[in-house]
C-alpha cells in the first residue's frame, strides 16, 4: 500500500500530508474533526534528523492545535546505526521524541499509532510504542532483530533459535507475536477509516498492554509481576551491610544495544 493509498483509506474525507525525506507531517479529516498526522515512512532508519523533525512536528501540534488527536504512522527498519548518530546522542533525540508524545498525551491529545510497514527495535519505540493505542496494518512486520543476527549476538545456533521461535511469541519475529504479547491492540484491515474513527473515539487510558498480553496468553508473567511489585508485595529485608558479594568482570552478553 502506498502512502497516498493508505491516507485515502484512513481519511476518505480528505488529507494533506507532506513527506519530507522519510518524515510525514500534515493533517487528515475524520468525522470528529482534523487529525494531526506524523510519521516515519518507507521503512527508513531513524537518525537524529528524523527524530528531531518528528519531535518538532509534535511540539507544533501541541502549540498550534490544542487537543487535536494525533495519528503516528510507523514504518521503520530501526535506528540508524552510525558513529555520527551516536556521537550526537541519538538516544537523547529519541528520548526527546518520546517526551513530546507524552506532552501531547498530557495536553489532551489522543495519540494513536499505526504500524504500516516495518517496526523494528528502537526505531519504533520512541514514536509508536509510547502512544495511547498501537495498531498495525495487516502484513506489518514487527521485530527486534532478524534471527540470524540474534544468533550471532546471543551465540545460540540459528537452527535452535528457529526451532524455538516457531510457536513462541516471545522469540518469533512477526505481527502475530506482538499481537499476542499485547503490544499491538488490533490489526486493521480495509476499510481503514472505521478502525481509525473507533480508536479516536475511545478515551485515553493508562497503559494496558501487560493485561492484554496476559489475556492473549503471550505474556504469562508480566502483569502479575508488575502488580506484585506495584503493590509492594514480596518484600525482602536486605541483609545489612552486605559485603563480599561476588562479582565478575564485564562479559559479552545479549542485548539489542550492545
Amino acid at each position: 500500500m502506498t502512502i497516498p493509498e493508505l491516507l485515502d483509506g484512513l481519511f476518505p474525507a480528505g488529507h494533506a500530508v507532506a513527506r519530507e525525506g522519510d518524515v510525514l507531517a500534515g493533517t487528515g479529516r475524520a468525522s470528529a474533526g482534523e487529525v494531526a498526522v506524523v510519521g516515519i515512512a518507507g521503512g527508513a532508519e531513524v537518525g537524529v534528523e528524523a527524530a528531531l523533525a518528528l519531535a518538532g512536528e509534535l511540539l507544533r501540534v501541541v502549540r498550534e492545535a490544542p487537543g487535536r488527536p494525533v495519528l503516528a504512522l510507523v514504518d521503520t527498519a530501526g535506528q540508524r546505526m552510525s558513529l555520527r548518530d551516536e556521537l550526537l546522542g541519538l538516544n537523547g533525540y529519541l528520548g526527546h521524541l518520546a517526551a513530546t508524545v507524552e506532552l501531547a498525551r498530557q495536553s489532551g491529545h489522543k495519540v494513536v499509532a499505526l504500524v504500516t510497514g516495518q517496526a523494528v527495535s528502537a526505531g519504533a519505540l520512541a514514536l509508536g510504542f509510547v502512544a495511547d493505542e498501537v495498531h498495525a496494518l495487516e502484513g506489518a512486520r514487527l521485530a527486534v532483530m532478524a534471527l540470524p543476527a540474534m544468533a550471532r549476538v546471543t551465540k545460540i545456533p540459528l537452527e535452535r533459535l528457529e526451532r524455538l521461535s516457531a510457536g513462541s511469541p516471545v522469540l518469533a519475529p512477526g505481527l502475530e507475536s506482538f499481537v499476542r504479547l499485547g503490544a499491538i491492540a488490533s490489526i486493521w484491515r480495509p476499510p481503514l477509516a472505521p478502525h481509525l474513527e473507533a480508536a479516536l473515539a475511545r478515551p485515553a487510558a493508562p497503559d494496558a498492554r501487560a493485561a492484554l498480553g496476559a489475556e492473549r496468553g503471550g505474556r504469562t508473567l508480566a502483569l502479575e509481576v508488575s502488580r506484585r511489585v506495584a503493590s509492594g508485595a514480596g518484600a525482602l529485608p536486605a541483609a545489612p551491610g552486605a559485603r563480599r558479594v561476588g562479582e565478575s568482570g564485564p562479559r559479552r552478553g545479549g542485548g539489542d544495544g550492545r
Binding site: 550526537l88 538516544n91 519505540l125 508480566a222 545489612p240 545479549g254 544495544g257 550492545r258
Partner: protein
Amino acid sequence: MSPGGPLVPRRSYREASARRRILGVLDPGSFEERLGPAERVTSPHLAALDQPVAFDDGVVVGAGTLEGRPVLAASQEGAFLGGGVGEVHGAKLAGLLAAALRDRPAAVLLLLDTGGVRLQEANAGLVAVSEVMRGVLAARAAGVPVLALVGGGWGCFGGMGIVARCCDAIAMSEEGRLGLSGPDVIEETRGVEELDASDRGLVWRTYGGKHRWLIGEADLLVEDDLDAFRAAATALLGTRRPIDLAALSSEHALLAARLAEHGGAADAAAIWGGLGVAAPAALPLLEVDEFLRAVAGARRGTR
C-alpha cells in the same frame, strides 16, 4: 619513596554488583526489596535456550530512603545477560514505576546497567522497554522525579538508552557509557570502517560520561565510586524537568543547535574543540575535578 597512587582503593561503582550498588546508594539498612530472590520469580524463557536463570531476573527493585527521604529504586545487574530487559525484568521495572504513581516517593532511582532488550526473549523485552518508557514519562507527568544513574560495566544502551533520556536527570561516571547502538552492534552491522569497537579510546570518547556531560546528555559527571553516585543521587533529588511546552521547546532548541553545530564532526574531540575546550585531546585522562576545571563554561545543556 614516593607514595605515588591511590593506596586505599575506592569502592568502585562499576565493579560492584547491582545489589551492592543499590545498598551503597541508599541509606544504610533502609532498602526493602520487592519480589526479591527468595520469591524465585525467574524468566520462564531461558530454560529452553539452556541459559541459567537468576533468582531476581537480573534486577533488584524496592523501596528505601536517601538522606531520609523515601525513594523507590531499581538496580540492573549488567553481568547477568548483559543487563538485558526480559519479560520479568521489565515488569519489575514497570511495576516499580506504577508504584511511584501511588506512593509518590521523593524520586525513583534507576541504576541502569544494560545492553537493552534481552535478545533471548526479544519481543517481550522490547514491549517491556516501551512499557518502562511510558512508566517513566507517566511518573514524571505525575510529578515524581525519575533519576538515572549510569556507571555499570555494560553502560546503558538500546531501548534503555532512550529510557535514560526520558528521565529527569542522569548522573554518569566517565566509565559508564550511554548510547543507542553500542560499538559492537555498529561494527557488526556497518563494518569496522564505521566504528572499530576494539578502539576503546574511541568507544569511550563517543559514549563515555565526559562526552555525554559536555554535550548536555548527562547532568552530573561523577567519579567511579559508590559514594560519589550516592552524593550525585542526593544532589539530583530535587531536580525536575517538567514535561511542558516550555521545557520541551528549550530541549528541542538545544538538540537542534547540537545538530547544526556538530553534525559534521567526525570525532568527539572535534565536538569538544567546537565547544571551546582548549586542549580536547587531553580530556580523557583528566580526573573529574580537573576535567570540570578544564572545560569550565564549555558544556551545553538546558539544565
